[in-house]
């Protein structure tokens, strides 16, 4: 039953692609919605457990499993994709190909989260990536094509090095299945090198600091339903890192290096978010910062913290991109001083609530994530609080600019959909965490104060104003990838 999670959306994707040559384009959205919602049935009826595809044994087959941790990733993916599916039925009205690509992204995401076999995980990650490249280039503007090309090149390099690392592990242990690999692996130099290469590739795909520069371009140029899914697409490499750190031995200095990179990424993301003048790029840099939080969970050996934090972050970021994206589509521009949610109560409430949620304020589920992450940290807890203040300052900037100016009417369906992530985040928070900490008011106040100080000093109004030709951009980032790879290989 578990492989059906990935197989049913795939068959609906092929069926939807058939509609184009058969000249029945009006049935496309019904097939698309069926394909998007059918995995809910499989997920709720099937239980936990693991299964080998085809009825073979574990040594000769591909294992898929819904475990204690992957359950949260699959739930976040199903919730976020349902919202994105309803959004895209209105957004891509009359076209068929985006529906096919979105169903392929659904297949890939679900397949990646259920896989327990390294090569299977790589294949589904590639399915997600290739479909996302095509959808990022969909708007047809020159900026979208350049963003898609840059994302494609960097993701391809990191994918090939990930397969190289899988090959090294296969050479050393003789298995691709993670459970069997964990039984026979020994701590040797080649295994440590393979883990370092695999982690570098996954760090690039997750958008952690030095290797993040494809993320703002792709997230600001892509059409809004794809950007809503970007909250989950960065979770796939995080799940990969979780699998590697649970089943393979990581040395102590490697984990310390991961934690340091995570802290640097948190502060760099927040710093760059404070300097932005473009609303969607601000949200994209905040993703860079939040992925640092989740990486701390992996670096300190606390998988539950990473799982809860990324669950919260994906729904919050999806909701924020939905609201800000629909505002910018209605206005036609992404600049902060041109957008406003004045006069539109639903979007205003959802943006304010989700901004508080992303800072880790208590009745929302992100407070549970933050508490779990803090539980695993033995040093540097004040750094996490400081980064939280920085995040709240960046979102104070977003809300400050969005609350002034002239509002524009957004379509009815979009407004109704924008309140759903807020309700989900509140609902999960009350169900799972159920504690209210008044200390969070101090953090919120400090964030607003920081933003007020920065604005008075004029630091936040200077944008970053250079743009490279895309070939040189890719070369510089490939060089950064190579240097970072050498650095991580040196650490072990």
């Amino acid at each position: 039953m578990i492989p059906l999670l990935a197989a049913l959306p795939l068959s609906f994707a092929f069926a939807t692609a058939l509609l184009l040559p058969l000249h029945r384009k009006n049935l496309a959205k019904y097939l698309f919605l069926t394909g998007a919602f059918v995995p809910w049935g499989v997920f709720l009826l099937g239980g936990e457990g693991s299964e080998i595809v085809g009825g073979w044994t574990r040594m000769g087959g591909i294992e898929v499993a819904v475990g204690v941790y992957s359950r949260w990733f699959i739930l976040a993916e199903l919730l976020l994709f349902s919202i994105a599916a309803l959004y895209s039925v209105v957004y891509f009205r009359g076209k068929v190909k985006p529906f096919v690509l979105l169903l392929l992204i659904h297949t890939g995401l679900l397949g990646a989260f259920i896989s327990r076999d390294l090569f299977n995980y790589y294949i589904y990650m590639e399915v997600v990536s290739v479909s996302t490249f095509s959808l990022v280039a969909f708007p047809g503007s020159s900026e979208a094509k350049k963003a898609a090309y840059k994302y494609l090149m960097l993701s391809m390099i990191s994918s090939y090095f990930f397969v190289f690392a899988v090959g090294l592990l296969y050479l050393k242990t003789g298995y691709l299945n993670l459970y069997l690999m964990s039984q026979v692996v020994t701590q040797s130099k080649e295994v440590a090198a393979a883990i370092a290469i695999a982690f570098t590739s996954l760090l690039l795909k997750a958008g952690i600091f030095p290797l993040h520069s494809w993320l703002p371009d792709a997230n600001s140029a892509a059409p809004t339903p794809v950007v809503i899914l970007s909250g989950i697409t960065v979770n796939v490499p995080l799940y990969g890192m979780l699998l590697l750190s649970t089943y393979l031995p990581l040395s102590v200095q490697f984990k310390a290096a991961l934690t340091s990179i995570a802290f640097i990424s948190m502060f760099a993301g927040v710093g760059m978010a404070l300097l932005q003048r473009d609303a969607k790029r601000l949200l994209a840099y905040s993703t860079v910062s939040q992925m640092g939080y989740a990486l701390i969970g992996i670096g300190t050996g606390n998988p539950l913290g990473a799982v809860y934090y990324s669950f919260a972050h994906s729904i919050i970021k999806g909701g924020l991109f939905l609201s800000v994206g629909s505002l910018s589509d209605a206005r036609g521009s992404r600049r902060l001083d041109a957008l406003s949610y004045r006069g539109d109560v639903l979007i205003a409430v959802s943006v304010i609530a989700l901004s508080l949620a992303i800072g880790g304020v208590s009745p929302f589920v992100s407070a549970l994530g933050k508490a779990e992450i803090l539980q695993g940290l033995t040093w540097g807890r004040w750094l996490v609080y400081l980064a939280g203040v920085g995040t709240l300052a960046a979102f104070a900037k977003l809300n400050y600019w969005l609350s002034r100016g002239v509002g524009v009417r957004v379509g009815g369906v979009y407004r109704l959909l924008s309140i759903i992530p807020t309700l989900l985040v509140m609902g999960f928070g009350l169900y799972l965490y159920r504690a209210f900490q008044p200390f969070d008011a101090v953090t919120v106040g400090a964030g607003i104060l920081t933003f007020a100080l920065l604005r008075l000093s004029g630091l936040t109004d200077r944008g970053i104003g250079f743009e490279l030709p895309v070939g040189r951009d890719v070369s510089i980032n490939a060089a950064l990838y190579a240097l970072f790879l050498l650095l991580l290989l040196h650490v072990l």
């Binding site: 492989p3 692609a17 058969l22």
Partner: protein
Amino acid sequence: MGMTLVVKKTTTLVAPFLVTYGAYLALYGYASPGGGFQAGVILAVSAILLMTAYGPKQVKKHFPLGEVSLLEGFSGLFLTVLALAGLMFGAFFLNFLRPYLPGGTVVPFNVGVALKVAAAFILTFYLLSRWVDRD
């Protein structure tokens, strides 16, 4: 665009044999080197060879874009239905034809993969040849 008469006649003679070779690789791929993807590439090469010899416009008249898309969609759907049909006999993707055919489900799966890959490659070359026509 197009090439000289010698090239055109030679490719017209050779292309059907490529299709035969591709069919052999697809059907016998479970027991000898070969298999779905390789067969699909050879099948596509037969059409692409004709495209380089005669020019894309003439080949598009004989193999219209709509029919190639239809082939691609149907073979993709056939593959997933074959995998889901294993559910009725036990597990997902179970090899339920093993008592009847040597190799079992692998043979129809290889044929499906070959057709899908061939259709996808031909479509890719049709789309990339749009820029060729512009020159």
